[in-house]
Amino acid sequence: MTYRRILAIALAALCAACGPERTLDPDAFEPIKIGLVISRSGALGGDGPGWEDASRLAALEVNAAGGLLGGHPVELIVVDDETNTGDADFHTALANELIGDGVVGVVGAAASSISLGVAAVLTPARIPQISCCSTSDRVTAFNEALAPEGRFLFRTIAPDSLQSLVVALTAEALACTNVAILHLNDDYGQPFGEAIEAALRADGVTVAIRVPYMEGQPSYATEVGMIMAAAPDCVALVAFPGSGGTILRDWNGAGGSTDTTWIGTDGIRAPAFIEATGDPALVRNFYGTSPITDATTPEYNSYSERFRASLSGESPIPFSSNQYDATALLMLAIERAGTTDGAAVRDALREVSTRQSEPDFERPGELADALKELGRGRDIDYQGASGNVDFDELGNVISPFEIWRYDAPGSTAMCTGARTMLTGGLGSFCRFRIISPEEIRP
């Protein structure tokens, strides 16, 4: 071997050994996984993708700012709950799938039954969970049954215990004297229907009949027949979009009175409900109640603007802001806690959502600023797109409500409040009146 050849081999070896070695822990930039329980199919399947987008937006914002806990990107792990509200084994499987995937927190579900079913696994596993849309009072009861240190379930939507009072206020405003109640028989609809009955009776309004029904049936002719037989002047309807549409079709098909006034709730203030009727003209004299999820606040406007800029170009759907806030708060809590430990994140959720000493107020679109403040050890009080989202000791928030009215395409009805135009020629929802928390519970 020549001297030159030995030198060449030595040089090659030197070059091969030359590259710098990794110095940080291999896990240093591993993603932090957040689970999403989304209704990609079933009765809420029309809205699920829009809510998923809201979470994606919050994750995009945080990842563009360098991620959490020093460079960990956020990864969303999505499972489809199929809006399957009745199968507890399925809910358990969803939760276990997310735990198996290594999530450190969960956003979802929308339907109360599913949120509670998933929480039955996540809470004992000490994994924080925030629902955008589960308004059932059973969520409150779930937490009340636990010691404070055992509570891991939160929501960014006001509970039905308040909304049922707004339904009664609405019935009063619409001069209803004899009200029938038709409601889902699940964790959302059953306690809500019962609470509406109690609120109406407390206001001296006659309750003609209260009829529970099961989601996912091809026809509700029997239940509709029971309501028609009671001859109410108003019907309070607690439904999901799919079943709500079927009920209206059955009502019209059975010759139900066109003079009857309907009072829906948050579950059907959605384009999917109008679509499900098959004909917007069937939706007559239709009012409803809902927590306000698209307030004309700077926070909501900023959120809506960023949503359009970063995602589909479309405006966010109802409850999108609640989903965004849930995701944002979970990520901010992880940063605040400085760890993904469930109990620490749970405690931090209250700290970042409520006023602490000398807080900086952070808003949608300002998650990078919020992370910066938290990194400096400062307090923040996140002001959400959906409201101030201050979690109480039971994981609840309080928000204003609206009375809405559906206006079919071509309607000339005046709307003095905000009007939400529905795409596809489906008409609009008019914000008929705003009800503050103080009006509900003076």
Partner: protein, 159 residues
């Protein structure tokens, strides 16, 4: 013989530098269409400080300028940052903040993003995810895109 020694010395002197490929992702295609130029900056970070430098760096760049990066591209046509991204041939070892800025032709900062990553032999490509700045909506208001998609923008030169 002397030439060989010079080659070896220069290689040893360059030891520790490593190439790094950077992939830039835009939230949606429309964001890319509105952008005209991009600049990628690399800043050293101190692992002892916790690797949480990105929010401060983004704040600094938006308010006081790009400061003192250890590496930087020129302000390049945004199409140069598409598909395959860009790469630096000589990143010093250790963790760095990779900060990407995307501007329109009126010099409005439309999007930015930052990622912390370590440069080492065999490291995966660094992914920098962009997000619209607070100036984005105002900057694009009234603008009409003539490009239907990113391919048209980068091949036909439409805007």
């Amino acid at each position: 013989m002397r030439a060989w020694l010079i080659v070896i010395a220069s290689l040893v002197g360059g030891c520790g530098l490593t190439p790094v490929e950077v992939d830039v992702t835009f939230p949606r295609e429309e964001n890319f269409l509105y952008a005209d130029f991009g600049q990628l900056l690399v800043y050293p970070v101190d692992p002892a400080e916790g690797l949480g430098d990105c929010p401060d760096l983004l704040d600094q760049v938006e308010s006081t300028g790009i400061g003192m990066p250890v590496l930087s591209t020129d302000r390049l046509p945004i199409c140069d940052f598409r598909s395959g991204g860009v790469s630096f041939g000589d990143v010093p070892p250790g963790p760095h903040a990779y900060l990407m800025l995307a501007y329109d032709d009126a010099d409005n900062l439309l999007l930015d993003g930052c990622t912390i990553a370590e440069a080492y032999e065999g490291a995966p490509a660094v992914e920098v995810r962009l997000f619209p700045t607070s100036d984005y909506a105002g900057a694009i208001a009234g603008r009409t895109l003539t490009c239907g998609n990113a391919n048209d923008k980068c091949t036909a030169g439409c805007r």
